[in-house]
Amino acid sequence: MSANNANHANHANQKHNRDQEVFGEAHKCYQCGKCFAGCPMSKVMDISPTHLMRLVHLNKIEEAQKYNTIWVCVACECCMTRCPQQVPLVEIMDLLRQKSFAKIQSGESDGEESIQNVVLSHKLFLGNMKTFGRIFEPLLAAMYNVRSMDLFKDFEKAPSMFFKGKLPLTPHRIKGIKNFKKIFENCEMKAKNENKSENQNENENENENE
């Protein structure tokens, strides 16, 4: 292996260890359901947070990412605050989302239909931020409407909002935008490489098993 690959492998191993460490915390869950009982989003989740923890505990990570649960979660942290076993639900959810997003970014998966809008909103949010350094809300809302093919969403509010001064016409671009973009690029690159290494590891494992 070339030095670069070795580095990536090393890094991937470290990350792999961290992933295992975080997902491993799910073994503390004794399925009491307190998170489920207090979750404001539970009614619209495909599977409950309790069920999700069960899947993570059994290392069924890919299956866990199939449901809309992780994207409909708003990270209000109610679950983790009340969990009697102190399972780090927020960290686990974040990690599931990050891995799922990496796969979507690399084109490996489209994500289920029900969550595509949510993922889209995050993509656009990040893109908007990357362009200006701060969020330029009117453009974000407009782009979302266009890309989600819901052109007239909240449209009836637009005039009122415009006259109330809630919709500025010109964005503010920060001075350090160049370095800011760099931060984004570096982070995106790292995530991409980790995803690639993980896929490689998985393939290697599969080949070994065969």
Binding site: Y30, Q31, C32, G33, K34, C35, F36, A37, G38, S42, K43, S48, T50, H51, C78, R82, C83, P84, Q85, Q86
Partner: protein, 683 residues
């Protein structure tokens, strides 16, 4: 001249597989002083022991080394055999060539060499052994029982009925403990007080039991068989010898709104009060913190109305000393309060109560005469929610253990509720059901199948209070319970009238301080530590101190009673002997060398070291030296390590004995099988 016999055991294949036992026995023959050296397949068997006994007699052995398994296994066996053959048992030592050698190595050559080294070292040690006798300590045949709940009562009655005197110390004004406050007990639904009060009366009447109520243990000194207890009799402000228990003082007392400890805060008592009508003793006590006379200097109504003139405002705490030989700690438990649950309102909502409070509401002698009503408005709850595991099994709240009794008493509460409010709806939120006793699971099924309790598997995330319109134009305060049914995979929101939390069980307040007074260990939750979790559950690690009931861990009444009888049995075993025999491995101080720095006193964990005066012929004190109490000393060696004058030594493990053992190890590997006589020079 030493005449040592060495006996090497094969232990079947256990030792022989990794150690060439024959070679070891051969190698010992070349050590000066070894008269006989044999090997045998099973030394601990009767024929094996006979070989040793015969050798002791025939060869007039002055010392024996048995090379076999750990001394913890058979040292006693062989020492008894030696004694039977006429050799002082402390002239026999075990060389461990199994756990320390054959079981931890695989190479036979290495194993054999090591076994030779070990055995030789013990031979050299034994040459320094001298005759010892077991230490005997007299025993005071009286027991102290701390705590007057059901466990304490049972232990006291068993010991007293066994013919020994018992001192019982209870810190509240009456014995009975929590059981006196329960409504009914599972699984029979017997009236709790009905089965308890006869025992309480028996304690009061028993000629062998001396009862101190409203008293606390102030200090404990001494050791097993010889404890000196100081008890503080708190001032009741009433002379109980004159008081007839008529109760007029309580009736007339104007201070009415003091939350009653017995009622767990669901009802009130007066400033002068008898905790409950069946109290033993049935005599009042004045709560000086709330009494008008003690706080403001006015009133004194009780004195005026007392016929026998038993009120004594000037009474002070009295200290008494008692000598006992054994202590049974039966201090019981408390439950955590609803204010420990921020997600359930942190105690702000009056209609959220705990299990003991529910017992008082359900009890016919309680503040509501057995009617289950809401504390906030006195109305009957149509919908009641019971929450199990409130605080237990909850590392986030600092209590990871299971409190054991809540599943059962929650089922009981659901049943009592149904019996009293037939049309009511009872929900029980649980995670698991723990009902392992006799008839227990059937009891829980009865609550579900016959008494209509709706068991929901899941927990409650949050409870808050909300005022709603009840449909009849009335505004009612309800408790909104947000829970989940994991079996149905749905959240559940219930508008409840009342919520009962089955809160976690903790040891009674002050448990840690008492443990320190008694000198016995406890764990991080303040439960007293048992000597062995499986095999010695009612003994503590401190000789003479026994445990019964929830002092040791959460448990129900039959287990507490069993604990108590077991502890009583242990006490009676102790008292069955005239004297206590224990092995002689204690420290000893050479008064000539000791210069009185008393560092040893500071490090002794058993408080076994005291100061002795050395006097001249005129009787004047010229020096102070350390003195070791053989009864308390456990032979830990702390004083020996710290003594700068080398005045301390351990009997049976003297410096000479240990040096001999160490010096026997050869410097050179080649010397192992051929070394002879070098040790003589080193001495």
């Amino acid at each position: 001249m030493a005449r040592i016999g060495v006996f090497v055991c094969w232990c079947g294949e256990n030792i022989a597989r990794t150690v060439d036992v024959i070679r070891v026995a051969e190698a010992m023959k070349s050590i000066p002083g070894v008269i006989v050296s044999l090997d045998y397949k099973y030394m601990c068997s009767d024929p094996g022991q006979k070989i040793i006994k015969d050798a002791i007699v025939n060869e007039r052995l002055s010392g024996v080394v048995v090379a076999l398994c750990s001394p913890l296994m058979h040292e006693k066996t062989f020492r008894t055999a030696a004694k039977e053959a006429g050799l002082n048992p402390f002239l026999l030592e075990v060389a461990n060539i199994r756990e320390h050698c054959s079981w931890v190595h695989e190479d036979k050559e290495e194993g054999t060499k090591k076994a030779i080294e070990i055995t030789r070292s013990v031979v050299e040690r034994v040459k320094q052994n001298y005759e010892l006798q077991n230490i005997t300590v007299p025993i005071t045949n009286r027991a102290l029982v701390i705590g007057g709940g059901i466990a304490g009562i049972q232990a006291a009655l068993d010991i007293a009925n066994g013919g020994h005197q018992v001192i019982m110390v209870e810190r509240t004004p009456s014995i009975g403990g929590h059981m006196a406050g329960l409504s009914e007990t599972f699984p029979t639904l017997d009236c709790s007080q009905c089965i308890l009060t006869p025992r309480m009366v028996e304690v009061a009447r028993h000629p062998n039991i001396k009862l101190y109520t409203y008293s606390e243990v102030e200090s404990v000194h001494g050791f097993v068989g010889n404890f000196k207890i100081k008890i503080r009799k708190k001032a009741r402000s009433v002379d109980i010898n004159i008081c007839t228990g008529c109760g007029i003082c309580q009736e007339k007392c104007p201070q009415k709104k003091i939350p009653s400890e017995f009622e767990c805060g669901t009802g009130f008592r007066k400033a002068i009060y008898i905790p409950f009508p069946q109290a033993v003793p049935n005599k009042p006590v004045i709560d000086r913190e709330h009494c008008t006379y003690f706080t403001k200097g006015k009133c004194k109504l009780c004195e005026k109305v007392c016929g026998p003139k038993a009120i004594r405002y000037d009474q002070v705490d009295e200290y008494v000393e008692e000598d006992v030989g054994a202590i049974v700690v039966a201090t019981g438990y408390e439950v955590i309060n609803s204010d420990k649950f921020p997600e359930y309102g942190a105690g702000r909502f009056k209609d959220i109560i705990n299990g003991l409070q529910f017992e008082r509401l359900a009890s016919a002698s309680g503040p509501t005469e057995g009617k289950i009503v809401r504390p906030s408005d006195g109305k009957e709850p149509e919908t009641i929610v019971f929450i199990a595991c409130a605080g237990s099994r909850d590392p986030a709240k600092g209590i990871p253990y299971c409190s054991k009794i809540c599943c059962m008493y929650t089922a009981k509460h659901a049943m009592l509720y149904h019996h009293k409010i037939h049309h009511g709806k009872a929900y029980v939120f649980y995670m698991d059901i723990r009902s392992a006793g006799k008839g227990y699971d059937e009891f829980v099924r009865r609550a579900i199948e016959q008494d209509g309790a709706i068991y929901v598997r899941g927990r409650v995330s949050r409870i808050y209070e909300k005022t709603i319109n009840d449909g009849n134009g009335n505004e009612v305060k309800k408790l909104i319970v947000k829970g989940v049914d994991t079996l149905m995979n749905e959240t559940m929101e219930i508008e409840a009238d009342m919520v009962v939390l089955a809160t976690a069980v903790k040891p009674s307040p002050g448990a840690a301080q008492l443990a320190q007074k008694v000198g016995t260990p406890y764990n991080e939750y303040e439960f007293f530590s048992e000597a062995h979790p499986k095999l010695r559950p009612v003994e503590s690690n401190t000789a003479g101190v026994f445990l019964a009931g929830c002092t040791q861990s959460p448990k129900d009444i039959p287990e507490s009673v069993a604990d108590a009888s077991a502890a009583a049995s242990k006490v009676q075993i102790l008292f069955s002997k005239k004297e206590l025999e224990r092995d002689p491995y204690v420290s000893i101080v050479n008064a000539d060398k000791c210069f009185g720095c008393f560092s040893c006193e500071a490090v002794c964990p058993y408080r076994a070291i005291s100061r002795e005066e050395i006097k001249n012929r005129k009787g004047e004190v010229v020096r102070m030296v350390a003195q070791i109490n053989k009864g308390l000393c456990q032979g830990c060696g702390g004083c020996i390590s710290i003594c700068r004058a080398k005045a301390c030594d351990l009997i049976g493990y003297t410096d000479e004995q240990i040096w001999a053992q160490i010096h026997s190890y050869p410097a050179d590997e080649a010397e192992i099988e051929t070394e002879t006589g070098d040790e003589e020079e080193d001495k």
